[in-house]
Amino acid sequence: MPGITREEVAHLARLARLELKPEELDHFAGQLDDIIGAVARVSEVADQDVPPTSHPLPLTNVMRADEVCPSLTPEQALSGAPAQEQQRFKVPQILGED
């Protein structure tokens, strides 16, 4: 498997929405490379006929009756918002000028 380069860390940081500082890119490149090197052994079982397990319990959809029940008030739901306006979350600009 490939070593993790600084450029690769920068790419991962973009995907993960992390605005890493230049010194962090170097630091994490070394550490991620070490970790990936150490955990890559899992691929030794990859060609075996083993079904994957994603969860310890067999998951089933849980449904409830379609009834109105108490929930948070708008004030409660907005109580932790960094910014709000007219009972709504106020977010930074999402659409561009053009």
Binding site: R17, L18, L20, I35, R41, P56, V62, Q76, G80
Partner: protein
């Protein structure tokens, strides 16, 4: 007052029920203890003095009215800062949620309140429960009461340190890869990871959803059982909650015995990296089990050698997804919202400022493991290892009733010792991780001090899914035998602070 803080939870509850002590007296004694020692230990991130006293007064009034009290009514508890608490800050040990006051209680919080348990405050933890030392808390590390220069374990170091320093007789932890059991082990306390799905995760800030499990922490096996019964049980608000009766854990803790039980010892849980004193105390525990009437069975679980690797792919993968919700838009920190940045840039700047290094490392590791071209080799393969581990446990439990092992390969290490070496840090969870991957139940309880450093060693007991009562049956028998052998509970040897 000193005597009050040394009582077990069961003793405290009995004294409150009989009127020998009031809940207010008990709460005041613990608040005084927190005031006296927590500056040194740093177990708490937030102490809810007024709220705790109000809860205690309510218990006393209830008793005066002749109403029936629950088995833990009036007993103080330290709650890991990962559970939401209405009106009380919940930070998850992160700057990302600094100052956030949840508008609702987690199911676990609700159950504690309904049982009249007095919540003293919120305890320190590794940020988003990622770590084995509580050094990754954005609010500074917690010290181990046995030696304040050592780690108290992680991620629930605050909860375990609160118990070991007599700031609370009960605490709550969460265990994704060992974060209840490893802190219990290194602080000489008892910690239980119930079967996955036995305790609701509703209102517990998610790290790795298929692994995270809340559970009880205490100084005795019976106290842990009493707390287990309060917090466990089906919750319709959590789709992964098991809809089955809670196993009879309190009854098991009151009737400890290993007579006629088959106890497995796994070949893979020893060898390189294990401290000599840890192995010595573990071997003595196995001898003790034999003396108490258990049959010891050697087990070979070859896939356990790959468990750590699988965990450090699965947990980061799930965390990279779970922590995407911390985007600075609806709650928590927001950075860069000065009108010059787009929402996407604000999210990236917020996450850079709000997350610490361990969280960023795991988010990127997960992003890598899930990315196109690497998915099959890493995440997909880790899931196959998970299947093999479950199969190893299934085979093992055809032969034995419980499995025992050391909880951690070493005793508490020094604060800072492994901070720059993630792989060395991850090794602390070597023995605890297989059970998280398979979903079964496990406990850690003290089995002595390592001769080389006089620090606590933990014995891990592992039981099959929904057979949590076996942990308590075996744990209570071992605990009673050790107390008889030592002449007192191990925690009494902890240095006074």
């Amino acid at each position: 007052m000193t005597d009050i803080i040394k009582l077990t939870a069961a003793e405290t509850a009995a004294k409150i029920a009989s009127g020998e002590l009031t809940a207010v007296q008990v709460t005041e004694a613990h608040l005084a203890r927190i005031e006296a020692v927590d500056e040194k230990v740093h177990a708490f991130l937030h102490v809810d003095r007024e709220g705790a006293l109000a809860q205690a007064r309510a218990v006393d009034e209830k008793r005066e009215r002749g109403e029936k009290l629950g088995p833990l009514a009036g007993v103080p508890l330290a709650l890991k800062d990962i559970f939401t608490t209405e009106g009380i800050p919940t930070t998850v040990g992160s700057k990302m949620l600094e100052g956030w006051i949840p508008p609702y209680d987690a199911t676990l919080t609700k159950r504690l309140k309904a049982a009249d348990v007095v919540i003293l405050g919120k305890t320190n933890m590794d940020e988003f429960a990622m770590g084995s030392s509580t050094e990754n808390s954005a609010y500074g590390p917690t010290g181990n009461p046995w030696d304040l220069t050592k780690i108290p374990g992680g991620s629930g170091g605050g909860s375990s340190a609160a118990l070991a320093s007599f700031q609370a007789p009960l605490a709550i932890g969460t265990d994704t890869g060992g974060s209840i059991r490893q802190p219990a082990s290194v602080t000489g306390t008892v910690g239980v990871k119930p079967t996955y799905g036995a305790v609701s995760r509703y209102g517990m800030v998610a790290f790795s959803s298929s692994l995270d499990q809340g559970g009880p922490c205490a100084r005795t096996v019976l106290d842990a059982a009493l707390l287990h019964e309060v917090i466990a049980g089906h919750d319709p608000l959590d789709s992964t909650s098991i809809d089955e009766p809670v196993p009879p854990v309190v009854e098991a803790a009151r009737n400890g015995s290993v007579e006629g039980m088959r106890v497995g010892v796994v070949k893979q849980f020893r060898g390189e990296g294990y401290q000599a004193g840890v192995i010595q105390r573990f071997d003595e525990s196995v001898e003790l089990l034999k003396e108490l009437g258990a049959e010891i069975v050697e087990l070979d679980c070859p896939s356990f050698d790959l468990a750590l690797s699988a965990y450090y792919l699965i947990a980061p993968s799930e965390c990279s997804s779970n922590l995407a919700r911390f985007d600075g838009l609806r709650y928590g920190l927001r950075v860069g919202d000065d009108g010059t940045h787009s929402a996407e840039e604000v999210t990236s700047l917020t996450r850079e400022a709000g997350f610490g290094p361990e969280v960023k490392r795991r988010i990127m590791l997960g992003t890598y493991a899930l990315s196109s071209g690497y998915y099959d080799a890493y995440y997909g393969s880790a899931q196959k290892v998970r299947t093999l581990i479950k199969q190893d446990f299934d085979k093992a439990f055809e032969q034995v009733d419980v499995i025992v092992s050391p909880t951690t390969p070493t005793t508490a290490f020094a604060i800072g010792e492994r901070a720059d070496d993630p792989m060395a840090m991850y090794l602390a969870d070597l023995c605890t991780i297989p059970t998280n991957l398979a979903g079964n139940a496990a406990m850690s309880l003290p089995c002595g001090l390592a001769p080389e450093d006089n620090l606590p060693v933990g014995l891990q007991i592992i039981a099959p899914v929904m057979k949590d009562d076996r942990l308590y049956k075996v744990g209570a028998a071992v605990e009673a035998a050790f107390v008889e052998k030592w002449g007192h509970p191990l925690i009494e040897e902890a240095p006074s602070l």
